[in-house]
């Protein structure tokens, strides 16, 4: 079993739709949770960063962490064609802080149709 599971998609939605992207994980030591957006042939860029459980909102993006269920989500409101990209979840534990490396999901490809 992979440490982090993420549906690869593609997920196709019409412009203006609410998008829900999700990851599940198995390592209960994970405490730091991130979402990255990766456009084709580019490096990932950090979208959202949360620590422990709860919600965090930034503009049209909301990150949600449920540690009891080992489940994290990214919601995109009023989706735009420019949101079309691959979204990667990533996480790490306090024990990783020496090397501070992240464990990534495989990414979900999102297509927002105009």
């Amino acid at each position: 079993q992979k440490e982090v599971e993420q549906d690869p998609g593609p997920l196709s939605v019409p412009e203006g739709a609410i998008v829900s992207l999700n990851c599940t994980y198995s390592n209960s030591a994970f405490q730091y949770f991130m979402w990255y957006r990766q456009y084709s042939r580019k490096g990932p860029e950090l979208l959202m960063y949360t620590y422990s459980s709860g919600n965090k909102e930034d503009g049209r993006f909301t990150a949600q962490v449920d540690k009891s269920s080992k489940y994290i989500s990214l919601f995109i409101r009023d989706s735009q064609p420019s949101d079309s990209a691959t979204y990667l979840c990533a996480m790490s534990s306090r024990m990783d802080t020496g090397r501070r490396a992240l464990t990534f999901g495989s990414g979900t490809r999102l297509q927002v149709q105009p």
Binding site: V4, Q6, P8, Y32, M34, R41, K42, G43, P44, E45, L46, Y49, L88, A90, S92, D96, T97, G98, R99, R100, A101, L102, F104, G105, S106, G107
Partner: protein, 111 residues
């Protein structure tokens, strides 16, 4: 602000040839540096990380090696490339507690 320079952006190399990918960092000092590989349809796999000059840790056994001759320079190398070395190679640095900031990557195709 921090910047990561990676080159080349695209590379096609024959099997058995050597490899050298370079990553340089600006706007920060003494960063943790990482090499990741991303295969098609798969997540990022950590290959190497470095917490300082000449301090390299390997995450997975492989045909590759890494070196950090200067604080802001991280090099990924191979003496003889294999077909399985094809992929998208990303250099990254850690910022804050656990964030990672990525370069634009090198797409390597071994033929």
């Amino acid at each position: 602000s921090q910047t990561i320079h990676q080159w080349p952006a695209t590379l096609v190399q024959p099997v058995g040839s050597p490899l050298s990918l370079e990553c340089t960092v600006e706007g920060t000092s003494n960063p943790n540096l990482y090499w990741y590989r991303q295969a098609a349809g798969r997540g990022l796999q950590l290959l190497f990380y470095s917490i300082g000059i000449d301090q390299i840790s390997s995450e997975v056994p492989q045909n590759l090696s890494a070196s950090r001759p200067q604080d802001r320079q991280f090099i990924l190398s191979s003496k003889k490339l294999l077909l399985s070395d094809s992929g998208f190679y990303l250099c990254a640095l850690s910022r804050g507690n656990t964030e990672a900031f990525f370069g634009q990557g090198t797409r390597l195709t071994v033929v």
